[in-house]
């Protein structure tokens, strides 16, 4: 008996991806993860544009991680022009980044993943059946987005973030109120940990190489060396050797490889490489879920995101206290364009994001390159999908069960497909 499964445009993920599976008598004939998203050609449309266009335009690569794109782009321009951000700018950027991570992870945990464990198609039926959970999730996400507004001027496509710093600084009284709101959210995170503890994740594992930035003395988010669990270590400006992008027939997004046929980036990769730098309370949550590096179950990426929610909230409280204790300095440094190449690597919610630009002496972009986390994950999703369907088909699972597991696998990577095609 032949079973064919086709899920056109998997729901509850960002962008357009399709799963196709063929099974004959319990054996896998074919399993494909196809990305059919339309490309928008950002790397071409930047060519000839002046430097200040880069962060503004590239933030439009993605609606979920527009702050990450802005910060990677700014870092690339600043690295090219020899600008080092001030301590104040670095802290504000990291705080903004943390709130993007929090809102994006919460979106994934509650809006995209949780409905699977309640056997629902979306969060909406949970409004009736579990109003406390929905209200709590919305409240936490609102806090993260409100703080993004406070620092970046806007939760989506930020306005105040520019090369050299910020156009204006947040009001300290307002910032102080967020310290209180963050403290309140820690209790909701405890409840979230309890809730996800009641979900049984599929036990599927496949040996995988995990790639992330490496923290020197703290958990990594903006800049740093590139490492893999297979022992590769490279500098930020050697990203091309780390990503090795190539084109494939089944995808409008490029794929990546390193030591093996594929690798994975994202929260699980970050923890697999940097667990020692987690906030102690976040490390306790990781331990409670058996998240002891190196974990090779892709479904655990969701748990890794939960661990990071705890980490970023606690670190943000400290960051706000440090900012409140310091005097505001000038928000913005002057920019002197020059002929140069600059790379910015940033850990966005789904993994390492690279922006690279080459400028002429007038500060116009001659060449642009963006390598997106989900693009780095596609080949790994494909290999996981093959292994997952092989195993569950052999176990005699129904096509409905296999369909759900295959969708859940793709969803576990929290793909940002529009972003990966860009």
């Amino acid at each position: 008996m032949t079973i064919t499964i086709a899920i056109h445009h998997v729901a509850r993920v960002e962008g357009h991806g399709t799963i196709k599976i063929a099974i004959q008598d319990g054996e896998l004939l074919d399993a494909r993860w196809e990305v059919v998203e339309t490309p928008r050609f950002f790397e071409a449309l930047l060519v000839g544009k002046r430097w200040e266009n880069a962060p503004y335009i590239t933030s439009r690569i993605c609606g979920i991680c527009s702050i990450g794109h802005t910060l990677a782009s700014i870092r690339a321009v600043e690295n090219a022009f020899g600008i080092s951000p001030t301590v104040q700018t670095s802290k504000l950027r990291l705080l903004l980044k943390h709130m993007e991570t929090l809102q994006s992870h919460l979106l994934h945990l509650y809006f995209l993943v949780a409905p699977d464990f309640f056997n629902k198609g979306s969060i909406v039926p949970l409004v009736e059946s579990h109003p406390d959970i929905v209200t709590m999730a919305a409240g936490m996400k609102l806090l993260a987005n409100d703080l993004c507004d406070c620092i970046g001027g806007r939760r989506l496509h930020p306005t105040r973030t520019v090369v050299g710093g910020f156009t204006m600084l947040p009001d300290k009284k307002e910032l102080s109120r967020f310290r209180g709101r963050l403290n309140d959210v820690t209790a909701d995170l405890v409840k979230t940990v309890e809730l996800f503890g009641t979900f049984t994740l599929p036990s599927f594992e496949r040996e995988t190489e995990y790639v992330s930035l490496r923290g020197e003395d703290c958990y990594p988010f903006i800049g740093g060396d590139l490492v893999s669990t297979d022992g590769v270590r490279r500098r930020e400006d050697e990203y091309v050797q780390m990503t090795n992008e190539y084109g494939v027939e089944q995808s409008t997004s490029k794929w990546c490889r390193l030591s093996r046929g594929s690798f994975a980036v994202g929260a699980l990769a970050r923890i697999n490489n940097n667990a020692a730098f987690l906030h102690p309370a976040a490390r306790d949550v990781a331990t409670g879920f058996g998240l002891a590096p190196v974990v090779c179950n892709p479904f655990m990426n969701t748990i890794a995101q939960l661990v990071e929610c705890v980490h970023v909230v606690l670190e943000s409280i400290t960051l706000i206290e440090e900012l409140l204790d310091s005097r505001w300095e000038a928000p913005r440094q002057a920019v002197e364009p020059r002929e140069a190449r600059g790379i910015g690597a940033v850990e966005v919610p789904r993994g390492i994001l690279y922006h690279c630009y080459e400028f002429d002496s007038g500060g116009k972009i001659v060449k642009a390159d963006c390598v997106i986390p989900t693009g780095q994950n596609h080949a790994n999703i494909q290999h996981d999908l093959e292994a997952l369907v092989t195993r569950y088909a052999a176990e005699g699972k129904s096509d409905a069960e296999i369909t759900k597991l295959a969708e859940m696998l793709v969803r576990a990577y929290d793909p940002c497909i529009s972003c990966s095609v860009h």
Binding site: H9, A11, R12, V13, E14, G15, T38, P39, R40, F41, F42, E43, A44, L45, V47, G48, K49, R50, E52, N53, Y56, I57, R60, I61, C62, G63, I64, S66, Q103, L107, L112, P115, G121, S122, I123, V124, P125, L126, V127, E128, V134, A138, G139, K141, L142, N145, G153, R154, R155, L156, H157, T159, R160, V162, T167, M168, G247, T252, S418, C419
Partner: protein, 269 residues
């Protein structure tokens, strides 16, 4: 989604009929759809006002029975043209949702290159991927309503959708962003040394960017009676180059009627 939304919404004591609404994404960052989910404080109220029957980014259920179709994104491929036409046939009201749908958005910057083959090769090398010139939605099918912005402003979306649900007409401001910026008592961006398209861009965002001390890039397209030569004079007076103005004017496609003539002599790549 029915059961969760069964409560009857009333407005001034009159029961409101909840229209069936569907969201569709084309070439875009999906940020405008995300703005709906980013509406945490009022999301549940919003969901009780309409019946969302299709929203792939947030729900698995899908239905082809809808009255209002929100179209996010620009049209860049043949399959998108076919999909959009099929949606148009089913929808009573088709809404161009965000700058990409209204004007082509940042995606239309691709169109300024004479050699589209170069565009594809630059990104994909010798493995070209299908693409065509970026078009706004109304270039392909008739559009009943536009919601401007990159991204759309959630308060404005709520107001417009409420009006739609109540059967009220939707009127966009004709005055420019400057009017709202003045009302917020902001310092003029030009006096802070920042170029700004506030004088010629359609208001409705409550001067979102200038209030953050970032100049307007014109994402909502032109206000009524745009005086482009006066805009050029202001930019020149404050020491900004023709190219800095052009960068902003052509960013989202709303000013395409002006950038064609202004762009002469500018290097295309």
């Amino acid at each position: 989604m029915g059961a969760a939304q069964a409560k009857t919404k009333t407005y001034l004591g009159v029961p409101v009929r909840r229209p069936k609404v569907a969201f569709f994404d084309f070439s875009s960052c999906e940020g405008c759809q995300l703005q709906i989910v980013n509406n945490e404080a009022t999301l549940l109220d919003f969901l009780s006002l309409v019946e969302v029957v299709s929203f792939r980014e947030a729900m698995s259920e899908r239905s082809d029975e809808y009255e209002i179709a929100f179209i996010e994104g620009s049209i860049t491929r043949g399959d998108e043209v076919h999909r959009l036409r099929a949606i148009r046939e089913k929808a009573d009201i088709l809404v161009a949702f965000g700058s990409c749908a209204c004007f082509g958005g940042v995606n239309q910057l691709k169109n300024r290159f004479a050699d589209q083959g170069w565009v594809t090769r630059t990104v994909y090398g010798e493995h070209p991927v299908e693409t065509s010139a970026v078009q706004p939605v109304d270039r392909v099918v008739p559009v009943d309503l536009r919601i401007y912005g990159c991204p759309v402003k959630k308060e404005e979306v709520e107001k417009i959708v409420t009006n739609l649900a109540l059967g009220k007409s939707v009127v966009h401001p004709e005055y420019p962003v400057c009017t709202e910026c003045k009302a917020r008592e902001n310092i003029c961006l030009f006096d802070l040394g920042e170029p700004c398209l506030g004088p010629i861009t359609r208001a409705g965002c409550d001067a979102w960017c200038p209030t953050g001390r970032a100049g307007c890039w014109g994402c909502r397209g032109p206000a009524g009676d745009v005086n482009i030569s006066q805009m050029e004079a202001i930019m020149t007076d404050y020491g900004f180059s023709h190219e800095e103005m052009l960068d902003r004017l052509e960013c989202f496609g709303g000013f395409s009627a002006y950038t064609g003539s202004l762009g002469k002599g500018v290097r295309r790549k």
